[in-house]
Each structure stands twice: as structure tokens, then as C-alpha cells.
Amino acid sequence: MIEAVLKPGGDAATALYIVAFSMFIIGVKRGTHPTTAKQGNMVAAVGMAVAVVTTLLLDEVGNWGLIALGLGIGTAIGVIASTRVQMTEMPQMVALYNGVGGGAVALIAWSEIRHGISLGEEIPLDTLIPVLFAAVVGSVSFWGSNIAFAKLQDLIPTRPLAVPGQQAINVVLLLGIVAACVNIAVNNGDPSQAIFIAILIAAGILGNLVVLPIGGADMPVVISLLNAFTGLSAAAAGFALDNVALIVAGTLVGSSGTILTMEMATAMNRSVSNVLFAGFGGAPAGGGAGDGEERPHTSIGAQDAAIKLAYADSVVIVPGYGLAVAQAQHAIKEVADELQKRGVTVNYAIHPVAGRMPGHMNVLLAEADVPYEQLREMEEINPEMPRTDVAVIVGANDVTNPAAKNDPDSPIAGMPIIEVSEAQQVIVIKRSLSPGFAGIDNDLFYEPNTSMLFADAKQAAADIASEIGNL
């Protein structure tokens, strides 16, 4: 039997919590630089171990069997899931981890309320208010993250799913939740548990309704926002439990998540409220000229593509989510290697929101051992586009759509794009002419200097690489 040695809120426990949250801050700080990031993650993980061990030593902790059970199940699932997940599925994984975090917060809040009821005493307002906040935000985060996961995993359609009267329903739900919270506060001492459960359910429905209408293209912003929400709800739980480690760590995540969210939204030239409430592509394919009709385009095979590339001086590869789905990062690296052997300059143009999370493409290409210097950011590569002989687009779509620049009525108008149409020639490797995440047609495909190579990205890249080798 482990001897409980620390008093909750006592000096020793607080000192250890301070060590833990200092390590979180150092860990995040180091996480912002490429050379120290891995070490930073370790520091934060050790901080977490300190916080957990400290908590286990508190003398209010009991029910060791249940604790062992929960830790065992959680560790097993966490280890298995994170060692099996593909790099391409990372966004879903983060959404799911974020969801369970929110779920944990909501359950802790429920437990606190039941504890209060069983004592039959009034819960002080400075505990009750954070508990209610944690319950609502945790539940929204849990269900919202699950919907985001389901969309990214293609379990439900990625296009915006609008419910009639959406905004009105959301407002009614929110008002209902506030009213129910007030009811619990007024009946403090003998609150109705049914009403509390109703709050959890209503917040869950709200989480569903807020995320369902958001199109796939905006998912990174949503996950980031939900990450910040879960952080804040964890901080609220810290207020309720008088736990300084929870307050600092939760707040740290809340503010960092907010920054990331705003950066991502800025990269798409949209505001966060616009993402949440405008329902991307709500007006179906606004500028789409003749939806059903096939517009004239040039289609080529792997051999032609190989010739175009092999005799170019400079090539820019524009990767998108299609590359991730097809697991084509290694095959593309082979194409680049073949080209470099022939003295062709190869760079990769990374759009800030390429893939489904910022930096997603960088991770995938790093996995394929693409040298860091070849990964170029959008602002850096765009001025070089007119001097580029061939731009190869692999599974990217919306981030290259010239409509963002040329058509003020387009749903993506104003979004910064990689200006591939400035390059001498464009090769688009894509399965079909179908629209991308944003659900709008891409005029780039029909431009005279664009050639379409209809194929699976991985297969096409492998074919091109071997054709170049044969030249």
C-alpha cells in the first residue's frame, strides 16, 4: 500500500506542481524551435509524470483499484493508437485525443456535482461556476472533436452539412444551457442532477451542431479552436479543484491554441467567426461555370510528364492532401532525386494550410527525408514562380486555385494561393477533375499551359520517376 504523504494544497504538493508546470512552459518554449522541439516534448512529458506522481501521493486520493484500471486502459489505448497511426492520419488523431481530454473534463465536473449533492451542502460559487463552465465546454469539445474526427476519417461527409434554422437552434441551445446553469446555482445545496445531465447533453448537441456545418477545408482551424477550448475547460476544472497545476497547464494550452487558431484563420484570409458561422461553400459552387459540363483540358501520361520535367531547369512541387492520402511522399522524393541527378533544381512549395493542419506537409515530407532547405514557404516561392519551368501539383487543389485572386465572388476569394499559373508549365497529378475540399471548381485545370495527369498520386510519381530514369 502506498503511503499518502502529501496534503492537498500543502507546501510540498504545491512545490512539486510548480516544478511540473515550469517544465510545461519550458517544454512548449523549446517546442517552438526545430532543434530543441523533441527535447522540449520530453521535458513536458517528464513534467506530466511529476504532476501525476504528486497527485497520487495526495492523501485525499483513494480507490486504488479504479485508478490502476483507468491508468492501465488509458495507457494501453494511448500507446497502441499512437504507435499504429499513420503520419497522414495525424489530424484525426489530434482531434480524437482532444476529444477524450474534453470528455474527461465533463466527467470530472459531473463527479464534482454528485459529490456536492451527496454531501448535501451548498457548493461555494467559486467552485460551482467553474464546474458548470468545465461541464459545458468539456462536453462541447468532446462532441465537436468527435465530429471533426469523423469528418477527417471520412466516416461522415466532409462537405458542410447544414441543418435548417441552424443559428436559431444554436442560440436556443445556448440560452437553455445558461438558464439551466442559473437554475443549478439558485437551487444550490439541492440541485437537480437531471438538469445537470441535461446541460451535458445540450452542450453535446451544440458541439455537434457547431462543427457539422463546417467544411473539410476549415477543419484545422476547428481542431485548433477545440484544443484551446479543452485547455480552458481544464483550467476551469483547476479552479474547481483548487489545483494550481491544472490552472497553469490548462491556461497555457488555452492561450497557445488561441494563437494557433488565429494564425491558421489568417493564412486562409478568414476570421475565426467567419469559419464558425459562415459555413464554407454554403452557396454551392458559387462561381462554378457549368457544373455538369466537361470543360476542355489537356490530359497527359507519365512519360510526357517525365520528359517535361527532365528537360526543365527548375521544378517546383506543390504537395497537398491528396499526396498524404495516397502516401505518395516517398515516391515524390524519388522523382525529385531523379531530377536532381540530372541537374534540375527542385523545390517544394508549402502552403500554410496544405494538408489538413498547418505544418502537416512538412511532417510528411520530413518523413520521406526531404532536405529542410527544399521546403519553401508560400511567400518565399511565389516571386520565383515566373522563373519556374514546371510546377507539379500533387494532390493539391484549392490552394492553387487562381479564382482566389481573380474572382471576387468566389467563396475562397482573398485566400493566399501558391501562384502556380505564373509558372511556364503546370502539371496537375490528380484522380479526376472533381473539386477540392472547398467544393469549388478550379480554373487552373483548364488553362492552356496546364496538363492533367489523371492517376493515383503514388502510382503516377513512381511511373514518372522510372520514366525519367529511362530517358
Binding site: P8, I25, V28, T32, H33, P34, T35, K38, A44, M48, A51, V52, T55, L58, V61, N63, L66, I67, G70, G74, T75, I77, G78, V79, A81, S82, P91, V94, Y97, N98, G101, A104, V105, L107, I108, S111, R114, S118, G231, A234, A237, F239, N243, V244, I247, A249, L252, V253, S255, S256, I259, L260, I350, P358, G359, H360, N362, V363, P371, Y372
Partner: protein, 104 residues
């Protein structure tokens, strides 16, 4: 701790978060998001505490699930971040000839 002590901590921590994070290269956005995601798994401490005063079957279930959820968040989050960052750390020596193609 008094409420105002806690609010002070909250406000300062919020500013620390903004300051520490505001300059991140886009490359690291995904790993960083994943790392901060793991850090909010600290809610598992809340699970460990509330299960201590659970005293009926429903509360046992709630508390155990809360601990399991929080643990998934922590363990999975840090491990996945480590995997992602492992891919970057190989990079400083891209020309290493004896790159043993660590097939995992």
C-alpha cells in the same frame, strides 16, 4: 488558495502562453499543437482526485472513464508528438550515406 490568487495565476499563465508561443515556424505547428494537446491531458489529475471520493457504482464508472480518457490524452499525445518530431531530427544530416533506412 483564494479565488483572487487563482485568477492572478490564470491571467499570468495566459500571458506566458501568448509570449512563449507567438514565434513558431509553420513547420512546427502540427507537432506543437499535438504537444499542447497532450499537456491539457493534465485533466487526468482531476480524475485521480475525484475518484478518491467516489462512493457509488456510477461515480466509480465516471471516475475511471475520466482517468482513462485523460491518460489516453497524455500518453497518446506525448508519444505521437515524439514520433512526429523524430522525423525532423533526422534531417540535419540528410546526406548521411549510412542512413540505415529505419523501417518501422
Amino acid at each position: 488558495m483564494t479565488l483572487f490568487t487563482e485568477i492572478t495565476i490564470f491571467v499570468l499563465a495566459a500571458f506566458v502562453g501568448f509570449e512563449v508561443i507567438s514565434k513558431v515556424p509553420t513547420t512546427l505547428h502540427t507537432p506543437l499543437m499535438s504537444q499542447t494537446n497532450a499537456i491539457h491531458g493534465i485533466v487526468m489529475l482531476g480524475g485521480l482526485i475525484v475518484v478518491g471520493y467516489a462512493n457509488d457504482p456510477l461515480e466509480y464508472v465516471i471516475g475511471t472513464i475520466a482517468i482513462a480518457f485523460g491518460t489516453i490524452n497524455v500518453v497518446g499525445g506525448f508519444m505521437v508528438t515524439d514520433r512526429m518530431l523524430g522525423m525532423f531530427s533526422r534531417k540535419p544530416k540528410p546526406k548521411a550515406d549510412a542512413d540505415g533506412k529505419g523501417g518501422s
